[in-house]
Symmetry: C2
Subunit: 167 residues, 2 copies
DNA sequence: TATTGTTATACTCTATAACTATA
DNA sequence: TATAGTTATAGAGTATAACAATA
Protein backbone atom coordinates (compact mmCIF):
# COMPACT_ATOMS: atom_id res chain seq x y z
CA UNK A 1 0.00 0.00 0.00
CA UNK A 2 1.17 3.47 -0.82
CA UNK A 3 0.99 6.37 1.58
CA UNK A 4 -0.77 9.43 0.15
CA UNK A 5 1.67 11.98 -1.25
CA UNK A 6 2.18 14.98 0.97
CA UNK A 7 3.97 18.22 0.53
CA UNK A 8 7.36 17.99 2.17
CA UNK A 9 8.34 20.73 4.57
CA UNK A 10 11.82 22.18 4.22
CA UNK A 11 14.20 19.96 6.11
CA UNK A 12 15.95 23.01 7.48
CA UNK A 13 13.06 23.71 9.86
CA UNK A 14 11.23 20.58 10.87
CA UNK A 15 8.82 18.11 9.40
CA UNK A 16 5.14 19.00 9.76
CA UNK A 17 3.63 17.24 12.70
CA UNK A 18 0.81 15.99 10.52
CA UNK A 19 3.25 13.68 8.75
CA UNK A 20 4.18 12.07 12.00
CA UNK A 21 0.89 11.92 13.84
CA UNK A 22 -1.93 12.17 11.35
CA UNK A 23 -3.96 15.25 10.42
CA UNK A 24 -6.73 14.70 12.93
CA UNK A 25 -4.43 14.92 15.92
CA UNK A 26 -4.13 17.73 18.37
CA UNK A 27 -2.21 20.65 16.97
CA UNK A 28 1.28 21.14 18.30
CA UNK A 29 3.60 23.95 19.20
CA UNK A 30 6.45 22.23 17.42
CA UNK A 31 9.74 24.06 17.57
CA UNK A 32 8.22 26.77 19.73
CA UNK A 33 7.98 24.18 22.49
CA UNK A 34 11.70 24.55 23.10
CA UNK A 35 11.83 28.35 23.02
CA UNK A 36 12.23 30.05 26.35
CA UNK A 37 10.96 33.31 24.91
CA UNK A 38 7.70 31.76 23.82
CA UNK A 39 6.97 30.25 27.22
CA UNK A 40 8.00 33.43 28.93
CA UNK A 41 5.42 35.26 26.87
CA UNK A 42 2.65 32.79 27.62
CA UNK A 43 3.44 32.70 31.33
CA UNK A 44 3.53 36.45 31.68
CA UNK A 45 0.30 36.69 29.74
CA UNK A 46 -1.43 34.15 31.97
CA UNK A 47 -0.12 35.74 35.13
CA UNK A 48 -1.19 39.17 33.94
CA UNK A 49 -4.70 38.01 33.15
CA UNK A 50 -5.11 36.33 36.48
CA UNK A 51 -3.84 39.41 38.25
CA UNK A 52 -6.06 41.73 36.24
CA UNK A 53 -9.12 39.64 36.95
CA UNK A 54 -8.51 39.61 40.65
CA UNK A 55 -7.77 43.29 40.55
CA UNK A 56 -10.59 44.41 38.31
CA UNK A 57 -12.81 45.24 41.23
CA UNK A 58 -10.19 47.57 42.65
CA UNK A 59 -9.23 49.33 39.46
CA UNK A 60 -5.84 47.78 39.95
CA UNK A 61 -3.62 47.25 36.99
CA UNK A 62 -0.06 46.06 37.26
CA UNK A 63 1.33 49.41 36.15
CA UNK A 64 -0.66 51.43 38.67
CA UNK A 65 0.13 49.05 41.45
CA UNK A 66 3.85 48.99 40.70
CA UNK A 67 3.95 52.79 40.55
CA UNK A 68 2.20 53.16 43.90
CA UNK A 69 4.38 50.54 45.46
CA UNK A 70 7.51 52.29 44.30
CA UNK A 71 6.33 55.68 45.48
CA UNK A 72 5.56 54.16 48.83
CA UNK A 73 9.01 52.69 49.09
CA UNK A 74 10.71 55.78 47.74
CA UNK A 75 8.76 58.80 48.97
CA UNK A 76 9.98 61.88 47.17
CA UNK A 77 11.05 60.05 44.03
CA UNK A 78 10.54 61.95 40.79
CA UNK A 79 8.80 60.83 37.63
CA UNK A 80 11.83 60.08 35.55
CA UNK A 81 13.37 57.88 38.24
CA UNK A 82 10.06 56.10 38.65
CA UNK A 83 9.98 55.45 34.93
CA UNK A 84 13.48 54.03 35.02
CA UNK A 85 12.52 51.56 37.74
CA UNK A 86 9.61 50.16 35.80
CA UNK A 87 11.35 50.50 32.43
CA UNK A 88 8.95 52.99 30.91
CA UNK A 89 9.45 56.29 29.11
CA UNK A 90 8.61 59.48 30.99
CA UNK A 91 5.84 60.22 28.53
CA UNK A 92 4.21 57.01 29.70
CA UNK A 93 4.49 58.05 33.33
CA UNK A 94 2.68 61.37 32.94
CA UNK A 95 -0.84 60.04 32.22
CA UNK A 96 -0.37 57.23 34.74
CA UNK A 97 0.30 59.72 37.52
CA UNK A 98 -2.42 62.06 36.34
CA UNK A 99 -4.85 59.24 36.86
CA UNK A 100 -3.54 58.46 40.32
CA UNK A 101 -3.57 62.13 41.26
CA UNK A 102 -7.11 62.62 39.99
CA UNK A 103 -8.19 59.80 42.27
CA UNK A 104 -6.46 61.43 45.21
CA UNK A 105 -3.96 58.63 45.68
CA UNK A 106 -0.78 60.47 44.81
CA UNK A 107 0.43 64.04 45.38
CA UNK A 108 2.92 65.82 43.19
CA UNK A 109 4.68 68.75 44.82
CA UNK A 110 7.24 70.97 43.15
CA UNK A 111 10.70 69.85 44.24
CA UNK A 112 12.35 72.32 46.60
CA UNK A 113 15.77 72.01 45.03
CA UNK A 114 14.89 71.51 41.37
CA UNK A 115 12.26 73.58 39.66
CA UNK A 116 11.88 71.04 36.88
CA UNK A 117 10.86 68.02 38.84
CA UNK A 118 8.03 66.89 41.04
CA UNK A 119 8.24 65.10 44.31
CA UNK A 120 5.88 62.15 44.51
CA UNK A 121 4.21 60.82 47.62
CA UNK A 122 1.16 58.76 48.38
CA UNK A 123 -1.70 60.45 50.18
CA UNK A 124 -3.16 58.75 53.24
CA UNK A 125 -5.90 57.50 50.92
CA UNK A 126 -3.18 56.25 48.62
CA UNK A 127 -1.48 54.38 51.45
CA UNK A 128 -4.79 52.85 52.46
CA UNK A 129 -5.56 51.80 48.91
CA UNK A 130 -2.08 50.41 48.51
CA UNK A 131 -2.58 48.23 51.58
CA UNK A 132 -5.66 46.68 49.99
CA UNK A 133 -3.96 46.28 46.64
CA UNK A 134 -0.95 44.75 48.28
CA UNK A 135 -3.15 42.18 49.94
CA UNK A 136 -4.52 41.28 46.51
CA UNK A 137 -1.08 41.21 44.96
CA UNK A 138 0.20 39.03 47.77
CA UNK A 139 -2.59 36.54 47.18
CA UNK A 140 -1.72 36.51 43.51
CA UNK A 141 1.95 36.07 44.17
CA UNK A 142 1.33 33.46 46.82
CA UNK A 143 -0.29 31.43 44.08
CA UNK A 144 2.80 31.91 41.94
CA UNK A 145 4.95 30.92 44.91
CA UNK A 146 2.98 27.71 45.27
CA UNK A 147 3.49 26.94 41.60
CA UNK A 148 7.21 27.69 41.67
CA UNK A 149 7.82 25.98 44.99
CA UNK A 150 11.17 26.00 46.72
CA UNK A 151 13.07 27.26 43.71
CA UNK A 152 11.64 30.75 44.00
CA UNK A 153 14.91 32.52 44.69
CA UNK A 154 16.62 30.84 41.82
CA UNK A 155 13.68 31.48 39.53
CA UNK A 156 13.68 35.19 40.30
CA UNK A 157 17.44 35.32 39.87
CA UNK A 158 17.08 33.83 36.39
CA UNK A 159 14.39 36.34 35.47
CA UNK A 160 16.60 39.18 36.68
CA UNK A 161 19.49 37.83 34.71
CA UNK A 162 17.34 37.91 31.59
CA UNK A 163 16.59 41.58 32.20
CA UNK A 164 20.24 42.40 32.70
CA UNK A 165 21.85 40.31 30.01
CA UNK A 166 19.44 40.14 27.12
CA UNK A 167 20.11 43.75 25.95
CA UNK B 1 20.94 65.05 68.98
CA UNK B 2 17.50 64.49 67.67
CA UNK B 3 16.81 62.86 64.36
CA UNK B 4 14.59 64.95 62.10
CA UNK B 5 10.95 63.92 62.34
CA UNK B 6 9.73 61.88 59.39
CA UNK B 7 6.38 60.67 58.33
CA UNK B 8 6.00 57.08 59.39
CA UNK B 9 4.84 54.62 56.78
CA UNK B 10 2.10 52.16 57.78
CA UNK B 11 3.74 49.24 59.50
CA UNK B 12 1.48 46.86 57.61
CA UNK B 13 3.39 47.38 54.38
CA UNK B 14 7.02 48.26 54.96
CA UNK B 15 9.09 51.18 56.09
CA UNK B 16 10.12 53.62 53.39
CA UNK B 17 13.60 52.87 52.23
CA UNK B 18 14.54 56.50 52.69
CA UNK B 19 14.30 56.04 56.44
CA UNK B 20 16.85 53.30 56.31
CA UNK B 21 19.29 54.52 53.72
CA UNK B 22 18.86 58.26 53.38
CA UNK B 23 16.94 60.18 50.74
CA UNK B 24 19.81 60.60 48.34
CA UNK B 25 20.30 56.89 47.81
CA UNK B 26 19.37 54.84 44.82
CA UNK B 27 15.67 54.17 44.64
CA UNK B 28 14.55 50.68 45.47
CA UNK B 29 11.95 48.20 44.32
CA UNK B 30 11.11 47.33 47.92
CA UNK B 31 8.45 44.69 48.35
CA UNK B 32 8.20 44.21 44.59
CA UNK B 33 11.66 42.71 44.75
CA UNK B 34 10.14 39.51 46.13
CA UNK B 35 7.23 39.27 43.71
CA UNK B 36 7.53 36.66 41.02
CA UNK B 37 4.89 38.39 38.93
CA UNK B 38 6.84 41.62 38.85
CA UNK B 39 10.04 39.98 37.68
CA UNK B 40 8.13 37.91 35.19
CA UNK B 41 6.79 41.10 33.71
CA UNK B 42 10.18 42.78 33.51
CA UNK B 43 11.85 39.73 32.01
CA UNK B 44 9.19 39.25 29.37
CA UNK B 45 9.36 42.93 28.56
CA UNK B 46 13.14 42.84 28.16
CA UNK B 47 13.04 39.69 26.10
CA UNK B 48 10.31 41.12 23.90
CA UNK B 49 12.25 44.32 23.26
CA UNK B 50 15.39 42.45 22.38
CA UNK B 51 13.46 40.20 20.05
CA UNK B 52 11.63 43.09 18.42
CA UNK B 53 14.84 45.00 17.85
CA UNK B 54 16.54 42.07 16.21
CA UNK B 55 13.40 41.45 14.22
CA UNK B 56 12.64 44.99 13.17
CA UNK B 57 14.49 44.61 9.89
CA UNK B 58 12.40 41.60 8.95
CA UNK B 59 8.99 42.89 9.95
CA UNK B 60 9.03 40.11 12.50
CA UNK B 61 6.91 40.48 15.57
CA UNK B 62 6.45 37.70 18.08
CA UNK B 63 2.80 37.23 17.16
CA UNK B 64 3.45 36.92 13.43
CA UNK B 65 6.36 34.62 13.96
CA UNK B 66 4.46 32.37 16.35
CA UNK B 67 1.52 32.17 13.94
CA UNK B 68 3.72 31.22 11.00
CA UNK B 69 5.60 28.70 13.08
CA UNK B 70 2.39 27.06 14.16
CA UNK B 71 0.98 26.98 10.65
CA UNK B 72 4.19 25.40 9.49
CA UNK B 73 4.01 22.74 12.17
CA UNK B 74 0.28 22.20 11.69
CA UNK B 75 -0.49 22.67 8.02
CA UNK B 76 -4.24 22.80 7.54
CA UNK B 77 -4.98 24.18 11.00
CA UNK B 78 -7.88 26.61 11.17
CA UNK B 79 -8.00 30.08 12.70
CA UNK B 80 -9.78 29.22 15.89
CA UNK B 81 -7.37 26.42 16.72
CA UNK B 82 -4.45 28.72 15.96
CA UNK B 83 -5.90 31.29 18.33
CA UNK B 84 -6.22 28.70 21.06
CA UNK B 85 -2.57 27.74 20.75
CA UNK B 86 -1.33 31.28 21.21
CA UNK B 87 -4.09 32.21 23.68
CA UNK B 88 -5.74 34.88 21.56
CA UNK B 89 -9.34 35.50 20.59
CA UNK B 90 -10.37 34.67 17.04
CA UNK B 91 -11.08 38.34 16.39
CA UNK B 92 -7.41 38.96 17.02
CA UNK B 93 -6.41 36.29 14.55
CA UNK B 94 -8.33 37.71 11.60
CA UNK B 95 -6.26 40.87 11.03
CA UNK B 96 -3.06 39.01 11.81
CA UNK B 97 -3.73 36.52 9.04
CA UNK B 98 -4.95 39.19 6.67
CA UNK B 99 -1.57 40.83 7.01
CA UNK B 100 0.28 37.59 6.37
CA UNK B 101 -1.93 36.79 3.42
CA UNK B 102 -1.51 40.25 1.91
CA UNK B 103 2.23 39.68 2.02
CA UNK B 104 1.85 36.36 0.28
CA UNK B 105 3.16 34.34 3.21
CA UNK B 106 0.01 32.44 4.10
CA UNK B 107 -2.84 30.95 2.05
CA UNK B 108 -6.33 30.46 3.35
CA UNK B 109 -8.38 27.89 1.44
CA UNK B 110 -11.97 26.97 2.21
CA UNK B 111 -12.00 23.74 4.19
CA UNK B 112 -13.29 20.80 2.18
CA UNK B 113 -15.25 19.29 5.03
CA UNK B 114 -16.44 22.42 6.87
CA UNK B 115 -17.79 25.41 5.01
CA UNK B 116 -17.23 27.67 7.97
CA UNK B 117 -13.52 27.32 8.38
CA UNK B 118 -10.38 28.02 6.46
CA UNK B 119 -7.41 25.78 6.00
CA UNK B 120 -4.15 27.57 6.63
CA UNK B 121 -0.84 26.84 4.98
CA UNK B 122 2.37 28.71 4.36
CA UNK B 123 3.22 29.57 0.79
CA UNK B 124 6.69 28.72 -0.51
CA UNK B 125 7.53 32.37 0.13
CA UNK B 126 6.14 31.92 3.63
CA UNK B 127 8.31 28.89 4.25
CA UNK B 128 11.35 30.77 3.00
CA UNK B 129 10.58 33.75 5.18
CA UNK B 130 9.96 31.50 8.15
CA UNK B 131 13.39 29.96 7.68
CA UNK B 132 14.98 33.39 7.98
CA UNK B 133 12.83 34.36 10.90
CA UNK B 134 13.57 31.12 12.63
CA UNK B 135 17.27 31.78 12.31
CA UNK B 136 16.71 35.13 14.04
CA UNK B 137 14.51 33.61 16.70
CA UNK B 138 17.05 30.89 17.33
CA UNK B 139 19.77 33.47 17.86
CA UNK B 140 17.52 35.26 20.28
CA UNK B 141 16.64 32.13 22.14
CA UNK B 142 20.23 30.95 22.15
CA UNK B 143 20.99 34.07 24.12
CA UNK B 144 18.21 33.17 26.54
CA UNK B 145 19.60 29.64 26.73
CA UNK B 146 22.99 31.01 27.68
CA UNK B 147 21.44 33.10 30.40
CA UNK B 148 19.38 30.27 31.82
CA UNK B 149 22.08 27.65 31.47
CA UNK B 150 21.61 24.02 32.30
CA UNK B 151 18.29 24.54 34.06
CA UNK B 152 16.46 25.28 30.83
CA UNK B 153 14.12 22.31 30.96
CA UNK B 154 13.14 23.01 34.52
CA UNK B 155 12.73 26.71 33.78
CA UNK B 156 10.37 26.02 30.90
CA UNK B 157 8.47 23.52 33.00
CA UNK B 158 7.91 26.16 35.66
CA UNK B 159 6.70 28.66 33.07
CA UNK B 160 4.30 26.07 31.68
CA UNK B 161 3.04 25.30 35.14
CA UNK B 162 2.26 28.98 35.63
CA UNK B 163 0.18 28.96 32.46
CA UNK B 164 -1.71 25.86 33.54
CA UNK B 165 -2.22 26.56 37.22
CA UNK B 166 -2.59 30.29 37.59
CA UNK B 167 -6.15 30.38 36.22
C1' DT C 1 -28.24 25.65 19.06
C1' DA C 2 -23.25 25.84 18.51
C1' DT C 3 -19.24 27.15 15.91
C1' DT C 4 -16.17 29.70 12.34
C1' DG C 5 -14.83 33.76 10.93
C1' DT C 6 -15.54 39.01 10.11
C1' DT C 7 -16.51 43.54 11.37
C1' DA C 8 -17.25 47.58 14.18
C1' DT C 9 -15.67 49.55 17.97
C1' DA C 10 -13.09 50.72 21.83
C1' DC C 11 -9.58 50.51 25.23
C1' DT C 12 -4.88 49.96 27.18
C1' DC C 13 -0.22 50.51 26.82
C1' DT C 14 3.45 52.35 24.76
C1' DA C 15 6.89 55.38 22.32
C1' DT C 16 8.75 59.41 19.39
C1' DA C 17 9.17 64.05 18.69
C1' DA C 18 8.48 68.70 19.65
C1' DC C 19 7.91 71.77 23.22
C1' DT C 20 8.46 74.63 27.84
C1' DA C 21 10.87 75.52 31.76
C1' DT C 22 14.65 74.97 34.46
C1' DA C 23 19.62 73.51 35.51
C1' DT D 1 23.70 71.99 26.42
C1' DA D 2 21.23 68.77 29.25
C1' DT D 3 17.28 67.32 31.98
C1' DA D 4 12.17 67.04 33.92
C1' DG D 5 7.88 66.92 32.49
C1' DT D 6 3.82 67.65 29.08
C1' DT D 7 1.44 67.19 24.93
C1' DA D 8 0.20 65.63 20.39
C1' DT D 9 0.12 61.89 17.89
C1' DA D 10 0.41 57.37 16.34
C1' DG D 11 0.77 52.50 16.45
C1' DA D 12 0.62 47.60 18.42
C1' DG D 13 -2.26 44.49 20.49
C1' DT D 14 -6.15 43.13 22.37
C1' DA D 15 -11.17 42.07 23.49
C1' DT D 16 -16.47 42.29 23.33
C1' DA D 17 -20.51 42.10 20.88
C1' DA D 18 -23.23 41.57 16.94
C1' DC D 19 -23.45 39.37 12.73
C1' DA D 20 -23.60 35.89 8.58
C1' DA D 21 -22.82 31.42 7.15
C1' DT D 22 -22.57 26.81 8.17
C1' DA D 23 -22.82 22.62 11.19
Amino acid sequence: MERPARRRAPAAISRPIAERRGDADEPTLGVLEGFIGFHLRLAQDASFRSFAQRAGRHDLRPGRFAAMMIIHDNPGINQTALGRLIARDKSTITPLLQGLERQGLVVRRAAANDGRSFVLTLTPAGEATLRELLAQAREHDRKLDEIIGDRKDEFIRLLQRIVQDIG
